[in-house]
Symmetry: C2
Subunit: 651 residues, 2 copies
C-alpha cells in the first residue's frame, strides 16, 4: 500500500481526503447508475475514486441490503476485490470453499444417500485467492465502505426508481432520465453523459433502450433458504451437491461465521400451469423436501434466517448498450446495462453476482477513461462486444450444468432408465472449475486485445485472459509479494517488462519508453501528470534482488512522483521469490517467459492481458495504443522527470 506520496497525512490511509461534499442531489452528472446491487455498487466504487468525475447512484430500496440473495464469490471476484484493497476483509469473514462433496442414492438402499465423491474445489495454482461464500449484503457493505472512503464520498440515493429516458446526442449531457421517488411518486430529471442500468432482471433501463432478454421460454424454480440448524449430515461444513433417488436434489452451501447454511432446493420446471402453485411453496415445504433428500440424516432447524422462491430462465440480451449489435454503425453508446439486466440464469454455478460485477469492472475503466479524456469514446462499444458473449457462454454453461444436476441419478440396477451417474457429474464439476472460478474468460482479439505478436515470449500470459499473478520479490526492500497485486483498480494500464537475462534489451526498452517521442507512456500521459499516471511500468529482472543496485535501475523504474517529487521505489522486482521451507519460485518458470528475449506484458485497467511482445518489440505498442488512446498532444521530448536519486546520481 503506497501513501504519503504528496506529503504526510495522519489517519487511516484507506480514507482519502474528501474533494467533494457527499450526498449532493445533482441535476447533471457524468454518470447516472440505476440500481445499487453488486454490479451497480462495483461500478460506483470504481468511479468514486476519480475526483474529476461526478457519479450519481440511485437505488429503489430504502436502505442497504441486510440479508439474503447471492453468496458465491469466485476467485476472480476476490482478485477484483484485492484491486480495491478489500480482499483481506472479505476473505477474513467469509466461508472458504475448500472441498465439494457429492452425494447420491446408496446402491443398496436407494432411499438413503451416501457420499460418492469429495473433490478439491479450486484447482492448485488457479488463483492466489480462495473461492469463498459470503452474504451479498456484506459484499455490498464493503463496496459502500470503499465509496465512503473515496475522495468523492459517493453514497447511494435510496428510495429512487428509474422511470424513463430520452437521448439527444447533440447535448453535452445526452441522456435525460426521469427518476421517481419510490414513496411519494414525485419525479425529477437528471441529465447524464452516460446512464448505466444495473437494475436487475426486470430492468426498466433495458426496456427503455428497446432491449429484451432472449433464451429459454420456460423457467426453473428453486427454493432457497438460509438457516441455522443442527444435523448429523457429515458434510454440513462442505459444499455438497446432493441428489436423492426420488425426492429431487439440493445444493448445500456452508456460509460465513461457522454456523449458517444455505440450501437450494430444486422445485423443477415452471410453466404457466404450475407457476402459481410453485410460487406458493412455503418454507415448511422447502424444509420437508430437504429432509427427504438428505435421509438418513436429520435436519433440526433452529432459525430460518431468510427464504425465497425464485424462478429463472436462461436468457440474455443481444446487446448491452443503446448502440445496438451493429458495431460498424458509428454510434457511440450512451446507455449501458450490466449484471442481471443483461443475463439471467440459475444460481447453481454460483456465477450471478460474480459475472455481474465483472460486467461493471469491464465498463468502469472504459467509462472513466473516456470521461477523463484518456480514451476515445469508440472503445465504449467494446463493453457490449466483450461482455455479451460472456453472458451467452454463461447461460450455455448454466443450462448444461443445471440439466445435469436436475437429472435423476442413474440406478446401477436399472441402467435402462438413464439418469446421470455420479462419476459424470463429478468429472463435469472438476473440468468446469476454471470457468466457475471466473477464470475461463478469454476476450478475442479486438481493439483492446492485440493478437499475440510474440506468443512464445510469455506463454503463461495469453492475451485476452486475466493477468495471472505469481510471487516475486521487490528489489528495494526484499518484500516477497504477488506481482498482480500492484494492479489496483485505478484506471491505469500496467506494462510489465520481464527483462532479458543480461538486461540489455530491458534497459533499451526502458530508455525508449522514457524518452522516445513515440513512446506510448509519453504520448498518452498529460505533461503535468506523474509519468505513471496512465501507464504504470514495472520491471521484473531475472537476478536475485540483492544483486541489483539502485544504480542498475533504469530511471523510468525509479520515477519522481507526486507533489514532492519523491522517488517511487516499488517499480522493480526480482523474478525469484523465497518462502521459508519451500523451494524458491521464479516467475519466468511459473509463467513460461522467454529468458533470452524477455517479454512485455501489457495489462488493461481491468487486469486482462492486452498484448504480449518480446522486449525488443516494445515499439509495436505505439500503434496499439494509438488506435484508442487520446494524445494530450505530442510531447516535445521527455517532459516528465524520470531521473531518480539525489544530485550525485549520474547514470
Amino acid at each position: 500500500m503506497q501513501y504519503h506520496r504528496d506529503g504526510f497525512r495522519s489517519g487511516d490511509p484507506r480514507r482519502h481526503p474528501a474533494t467533494r461534499v457527499a450526498g449532493e442531489d445533482r441535476d447533471e452528472t457524468d454518470v447516472l447508475i440505476v440500481g445499487g446491487g453488486p454490479a451497480g455498487l462495483l461500478l460506483s466504487a470504481y468511479l468514486s475514486q476519480f475526483s474529476d468525475l461526478t457519479t450519481c447512484l440511485v437505488e429503489k430500496s430504502r436502505g442497504p441490503l441486510e440479508l439474503g440473495r447471492a453468496d458465491g464469490v469466485a476467485c476472480r471476484t476476490v482478485e477484483t476485490f484485492a484491486s480495491f484493497g478489500l480482499a483481506g476483509r472479505l476473505i477474513d469473514e467469509a466461508y472458504w470453499v475448500n472441498e465439494t462433496a457429492f452425494w447420491h442414492p446408496d446402491a443398496d438402499d436407494r432411499e438413503r444417500i451416501v457420499r460418492t465423491g469429495l473433490v478439491q474445489d479450486v484447482e492448485d495454482g488457479l488463483s492466489e485467492f480462495p473461492h469463498v461464500i459470503v452474504n451479498q449484503a456484506r459484499i455490498q457493505d464493503l463496496l459502500l465502505g470503499f465509496m465512503d472512503n473515496s475522495p468523492t464520498r459517493l453514497t447511494p440515493t435510496y428510495g429512487v426508481e428509474f422511470s424513463s429516458l430520452t437521448i439527444d446526442r447533440a447535448r453535452t449531457h445526452p441522456v435525460e432520465a426521469v427518476l421517481r421517488d419510490a414513496d411519494s411518486g414525485e419525479t425529477r430529471t437528471v441529465r447524464a453523459k452516460y446512464l448505466v442500468g444495473a437494475d436487475g432482471a426486470r430492468s426498466a433501463v433495458r426496456r427503455a433502450i428497446g432491449l429484451s432478454l432472449h433464451g429459454e421460454a420456460a423457467g426453473h424454480a428453486w427454493g432457497v433458504m438460509d438457516m441455522l440448524a443442527v444435523t448429523d449430515f457429515p458434510d454440513i461444513r462442505r459444499k455438497a451437491a446432493i441428489q436423492s433417488a426420488t425426492h429431487g436434489s439440493i445444493l448445500l452451501i456452508p456460509r460465513e461465521g461457522g454456523y449458517l447454511v444455505r440450501l437450494y432446493v430444486d422445485l423443477g420446471v415452471v410453466d404457466d400451469e404450475n407457476r402459481a402453485a410453485v410460487r406458493r411453496t412455503t418454507p415448511e415445504q422447502i424444509i420437508e423436501i430437504a429432509r427427504d433428500v438428505i435421509r438418513p440424516y436429520s435436519l433440526d432447524i433452529r432459525e430460518i434466517v431468510w427464504s425465497s422462491i425464485y424462478e429463472v430462465a436462461q436468457r440474455t440480451a443481444d446487446a448491452f448498450d443503446d448502440a445496438g449489435t451493429d458495431l460498424a454503425n458509428g454510434i457511440d453508446p450512451r446507455v449501458f446495462i450490466v449484471g442481471d439486466a443483461c443475463h439471467t440464469h440459475s444460481a447453481k454455478a454460483g456465477q450471478g453476482m460474480n459475472v455481474s460485477m465483472q460486467d461493471a469492472f469491464n465498463l468502469g475503466w472504459k467509462l472513466s477513461g473516456t470521461l477523463l479524456g484518456r480514451t476515445a469514446p469508440a472503445i465504449l462499444r467494446t463493453y457490449s462486444q466483450e461482455r455479451q458473449p460472456v453472458a451467452q457462454e454463461l447461460i450455455d454453461f448454466d443450462r448444461s450444468w443445471s440439466q445435469l444436476m436436475a437429472q435423476a441419478p442413474a440406478d446401477p440396477d436399472h441402467p435402462e432408465r438413464g439418469g446421470v451417474d455420479h462419476a459424470t457429474l463429478q468429472d463435469h464439476f472438476v473440468r468446469a472449475g476454471r470457468y466457475t472460478a471466473g477464470l475461463g474468460i478469454e476476450y478475442p482479439p479486438g481493439p483492446l486485445i492485440a493478437g499475440a505478436t510474440s506468443p512464445t515470449a510469455a506463454r503463461g500470459y495469453p492475451p485476452g485472459q486475466r493477468f495471472h499473478s505469481a510471487p516475486v520479490t521487490r528489489v528495494s526492500d526484499g518484500l516477497r509479494t504477488e506481482l498482480g497485486h500492484v494492479h489496483l483498480a485505478d484506471g491505469r494500464w500496467r506494462l510489465f517488462l520481464f527483462a532479458d537475462s543480461d538486461r540489455r534489451l530491458f534497459d533499451q526498452a526502458c530508455a525508449w519508453l522514457a524518452e522516445a517521442p513515440e513512446s506510448p507512456v509519453l504520448r498518452h500521459t498529460p505533461a503535468d501528470a506523474d509519468i505513471d499516471a496512465v501507464i504504470d511500468v514495472r520491471g521484473i529482472v531475472q537476478d536475485h534482488h540483492r544483486d541489483v543496485a539502485p544504480s542498475d535501475v533504469p530511471a523510468l523504474l525509479r520515477p519522481r512522483t507526486g507533489r514532492l517529487g519523491l522517488v517511487d521505489e516499488e517499480k522493480l522486482f526480482s523474478a525469484i521469490s523465497r518462502q521459508a521451507g519451500t523451494p524458491d519460485r521464479d516467475i519466468f518458470d511459473d509463467r513460461d517467459i522467454d529468458r533470452s528475449r524477455g517479454a512485455v506484458v501489457l495489462v488493461r485497467p481491468d487486469q486482462y492481458v492486452a498484448a504480449v511482445v518480446a522486449v525488443d518489440q516494445v515499439t509495436t505498442l505505439t500503434e496499439f495504443f494509438g488506435t484508442f488512446m487520446s494524445q494530450p498532444g505530442p510531447q516535445p521530448g521527455p517532459s516528465h522527470t524520470v531521473s531518480a536519486g539525489g544530485p550525485e546520481r549520474v547514470s
Copy 2:
C-alpha cells in the same frame, strides 16, 4: 471468524451489539486506566469485550495521537493483534522489515560509508507474522476501532489527568482516584476496584504508590525525525544501522506507505552539564549529522513530518503494583503500572511499544478473570512477578545493544584504538533476533506456569513460552489454518489435545474432560455457560482430515453452544496441512510432539504455554487449575450439553 452463534445478525460481524451506552462518565468503575498510549489502549481494548465489566480510560491529551513516537512492531505484537482480529489491517498498511543492512566506514576512505552486511531480519519459522513498522498513532487507531466495535463501546475520556489516589481495601471499590480536567483544572473523584497507571515514563500513578525507577543515572539522547526525502542511499527502503568513522551513527527505519523514513541520530550521553545544549538541538542540526554520517550519499529532505529530541536512561521499577516486592505479604494489589511507567530504555532495539503492550496483555486476562470471578485475586501478584524480570532483561539487553551501537567502528589499520568491528555487530544482531521479535520470553514455573511434567510430550512447546502456531487442517471443512489463530484475546484458556496415533488415549481424555466431576472444564465453567466459555478444548489428530468422520469426533469437540444450541464444528483439526507446490507439513513434526502418547498443551489466555503433559496425564490439570481458579460450585455431573449432532447420533 465465528459469528451468528446466537442467531443471525446483519452487518459487520466485527461490530458487536452494544450492551452499554458509550461515553458514560462513571463515578464508580471496575477498572480505571490512566493513559491512552499503546499499553493503556491495549488493556482497554481487552477489557472492552466483557459486557459485565466497566472500564474507564482517561488520557491527558485532547484527542487521539496523530503522528510521531514509536513505530516498531515486533512479530509477537502482530501475533497479539491477530488475537484481536486486527493483524490483517495492521500488516496490510505497514512497512515489512525483511532485511537489515549494516554500513561502516570504507577501509580505503574512512570518510565514506560502505555496506558491510545485509541480513534477513526475522529468522525462518520464528513466527507466522512479519516484523513491521507503522506509526504508533495507527496502532492506537486500530485499538480504538476495536473498542468502538466492542459490546461496551469503550471510548477514552480525553483531556483528563490523574492527580492522586487513596486505597482502602475494606471498600468494594478500594481505589479512590482524584482526576483533574487538563483545561479547567477542575477535579472529580472516581472509585475503582483496580487502577492501572499507563501514564508513561513520568507516571504520576507510579509516584502515588511510592514506586520509582532505578538504573542508570546518566541518560542518552537521540534526535529522531520522520521525513519524506530523496536520496541515492541504496538502502533507503531497508532498515539500516549506519556507523560513520567520526560523525556518529544513525539508525534508518523505512516506514509505512513507501516513502516515509525515520532516522534516529545518536546525540550521545547526557549529563547535567550538557543537557540544556543537547535539548536545544534543532531539526537542521539533526539533518546535518545525518548528512555527515551517510556520506558519500545525498539526503534531500522534502518534508519534515515530525522530529523530537529525547533522552532516556535504562531504568525500571522494582515492582509493578502497590503490593510491593514481598510476594508473601498476602496483600492483593489494587494499583498496577504498565508500559513506560515501569521501564525506560532506548528506542534502538525497537522494543518500547511492544513490551508495553505485552505488559497490558499479561495483566488484561488476570484482571478480567478476577473481576468476573473466574480466578482468585492472588493471581494478580503474578503480573509484577512475571513482568518485572522481563523489564529488567529488556534494559540489560538495551544497555549492551546501545553500547555496541554507540562504539566507534574499529579501524582495521589501527586495531589498537579499539571499537566494534562490523562482524561483531552483525552477529549480535542476528543472535538477538528472537529476543527483538518479542519471542525470547520464558516465564519461569510459578502459580500459572506448571513445571513440565512430561517435557518429552511436546518439545516444541516449552512451558512459559508463547504458544508457537503452526498450520493444520480443520476437519469439518478442510480449511488449512494456523492452529494458534483459534486463540482469540477473549479471556479463555485453550487446551490443545494432540492425539495419540490410534486416538485411544485421546478419546479417553475427551470423555474425562467432558464427564469427570474433577474435570477442570466442568469445575470451572458456570453451569449456564457454554462448555467452552472458560477452557476451550481443541483436538488435533494425526489422521488426514478426510479420514475423520463426524461420528469419530468426541462429543466434547462438537459441543452445542449458544442460545440456539448450535454445533460448533471448528474444534477438531488434522495435524497434516497441504499447500499447493510445497511439501505437506505435520504439526507433530513441526513441534516435536510424541506420536505414541500424544500431548496436552494448556495455553493461558495471553497465549503462553502453562503446562504440557502426555494425554494420559490430563488428570493432573485438576490440581493445576485448582490452585488459582474459582469453582462456580462442584458440578453434580456433566450439566453441559456436549453431545453433538442430530437425534440419530448414538455414540
